[in-house]
């Protein structure tokens, strides 16, 4: 099994996130970044699959120089090698352009040995669009099964991927023939922490650095100017004014009911 996991380097959600006033893009310089928490589940799931059988896990990221940290963390968890696509022209790319770069990178990885499975997180913790995986599948012509809360691979490469998805109206079992793309939720597993051995081993693992030219992508196809959508303006949400907080002195429930009645919720 040859598995590619797409991981994104994102601003830490615990920090104050904001935008660059000059071009309305996400500020990635003044906020500490890390491997998107939700992509740890994708790395973990890929590792479990190869550990149960055989194969190799390649982690792929598209992002600025600092994004190497995201690859490093995945390698420390146990992934075998990394691919980092970094090119100044990519700054400001929207999901459509990001999916183009990822797709071309996966094709290039596949030139060496065919890719059987692409695993992604359910959404990035900064953009939270959750659309890159599907766009990627569309571009690669792969069947996609998304929001997997369970994943089973049968028959190895050339076999099938079966997932469970917890929907509003029903719980579904979905099967796709490999090669396929699967996006996983935070219900699927418990990501491991890198062990000391893992951290040491990661230092020796290969990481390829590619620019757009290596992928045959014209710089005019990506970046802020090529984006098919434009952020016209952004504004911090006005802070919520501190409301009334009362201690329960035996009448907290009645006070709550009075508040709700006064505001016509009852």
């Amino acid at each position: 099994m040859n598995i590619v996991v797409c991981v994104k380097y994102v601003p830490d959600a615990q920090a104050e996130r904001t935008f660059n006033a000059s071009d309305n893009t996400t500020d990635r310089d003044n906020v500490d970044g890390l491997l998107s928490e939700l992509d740890e589940y994708a790395v973990e799931e890929a590792l479990k699959i190869v550990e149960a059988g055989e194969g190799e896990v390649t982690v792929l990221t598209v992002g600025p120089a600092q994004a190497a940290d995201a690859i490093k963390k995945a390698l420390q968890m146990g992934a075998h090698k990394g691919v980092h696509v970094d090119d100044d022209a990519i700054h400001g790319s929207d999901a459509v352009a990001t999916s183009l770069v990822l797709a071309e990178a996966i094709k290039k990885i596949g030139n060496e040995a065919p890719v059987d499975l692409v695993v992604t997180g359910m959404a990035s913790t900064d953009g939270t669009m959750g659309v890159v995986p599907t766009m990627l599948a569309e571009r690669l012509g792969l069947p996609a099964v998304t929001f997997a809360s369970e994943l089973t691979i049968d028959g190895g490469a050339g076999g099938t991927a079966t997932i469970h998805r917890d929907g509003d109206a029903s719980t579904q079992t979905i099967t796709a023939t490999l090669p396929a793309l699967v996006s996983v939720t935070d219900q699927i597993n418990e990501p491991r922490y890198p062990s000391f051995k893992g951290i040491m081993a990661a230092k020796k693992k290969p990481v390829e650095k590619w620019a757009l030219a290596d992928l045959g992508i014209d710089p005019s196809q990506v970046g802020l100017d090529a984006a098919w959508t434009k952020v016209e303006a952004f504004a911090a949400r006005p802070p919520r004014s501190q409301g009334e907080i009362v201690p329960d002195e035996g009448d907290g429930g009645r006070k709550l009911a009075a508040f709700l009645t006064e505001h016509k919720f009852v």
Binding site: T18, M122, T146, I174, R237, R240, I245, G253, A258, V266
Partner: protein, 321 residues
């Protein structure tokens, strides 16, 4: 006026409320045309007409839905080519976003997800302006599509559905899914049991329970029922197996934006806030007066939810007679 395509969200023809919201929004920017894929057309038609659909494109086939979202994206791509709509509106469900993502790539069009408002651009350009809420609700962003047909996924509760009779002229679409659409198949589908409560993302009031319930949601449910509310849960409560995952509110659960959100025994972690911070009015009950959730509230009670909730429920029920 140009058509605006609205993908109908339905189960066997039972149309969800989000669709009537999308039809209402569509009327602001053009002439609403509903796109119906699946089974149960007759039941759906009545609702679609009532909320102003001038046209309904229909693809009736049970087979199509077995293959997940790809055929729906293909139907829309076909219609974008033939009808040159001003925009395509899709509900912001996981499926809706997948359909929109594929459609954007197929038609080389810009995609905006999770819009909370959609209006005709005020500069008279004929463009469409959207509003989104980002970074766990801490910023508001206005954006436009600059290429192709604007494809917009719209969150539930983004408009109040308005009833306006529409002609609802139906047109059968000649459609055959591609082979690529058949790569993934739903092999089993177990329907969920209805709770009798409103749906989480559509509800005007949501009452959620967290780790503070210690696994006993009965007080949360009784209080919710006194308000006619939906019941939600924090991830801690879901992970403990106390409440179904589909009820989880937050970054990796549902994003809700009701008139009133009541957090019971929930600390207010950033991932939880991401799912409820845009609620109009926020109320919390928590034992710990330093719980971060209190930074958000319009009204808070520092106390034990097992004492506060039953008293509130009783007071509300008594007031109803």
């Amino acid at each position: 006026m140009a058509e605006v395509l609205v993908l109908v969200d339905h189960v066997d023809g039972k149309v969800r409320k989000t669709t009537s919201e999308l039809l209402t929004i569509a009327r602001r920017i053009g002439e609403p045309s509903a796109v119906f894929v699946g089974t149960g057309f007759d039941a759906a038609k009545e609702t679609l007409a009532r909320f102003g659909a001038e046209k309904i494109y229909r693809v009736e086939s049970p087979e199509v839905l077995e293959h997940l979202v790809v055929p729906q994206a293909e139907v829309l791509a076909q219609l974008v080519a033939s009808a040159s709509p001003a925009a395509v509106l899709v509900p912001s469900t996981p499926e809706g976003k997948e359909i929109a993502a594929r459609l954007a790539v197929k038609t080389e069009s810009g995609l905006i997800t999770d819009a909370v408002d959609v209006q005709a651009a005020s500069d008279g350009s004929g463009g469409i302006a959207t509003t989104q809420s980002v970074f766990a609700g801490s910023y508001t962003v206005s954006a436009t599509v600059t290429k192709g047909t604007p494809i917009i996924t719209v969150k539930p509760n983004s408009a109040t559905p308005e009833e306006v009779a529409g002609a609802a002229a139906d047109e059968v679409v000649d459609f055959t899914p591609s082979d690529a659409a058949k790569g993934a198949r739903i092999t089993e589908s177990k329907p969920k049991q209805a709770t009798g409560r409103p749906e989480l993302t559509e509800a005007a009031i949501v009452v959620s329970g967290g780790r503070g319930t210690a696994g006993d949601f009965s007080k949360v449910e009784a209080f919710a029922d006194s308000l006619g509310a939906a019941v939600g849960a924090s991830r801690a409560a879901v992970d403990a197996g106390w409440y179904p995952h589909t009820s989880q509110v937050g970054q990796t659960g549902k994003q809700v934006s009701p008139q009133l959100y009541v957090a019971c025994g929930i600390s207010g972690a950033i991932q939880h806030r991401a799912g409820m911070q845009t609620s109009k009015t926020i109320v919390a009950i928590n034992k710990d007066n330093e719980a971060p959730i209190f930074e958000l509230v319009d009204f808070g009670v520092v106390g034990d939810l097992f004492a506060v909730l039953p008293q509130a429920t009783e007071t509300i029920e008594a007031g109803k007679d």
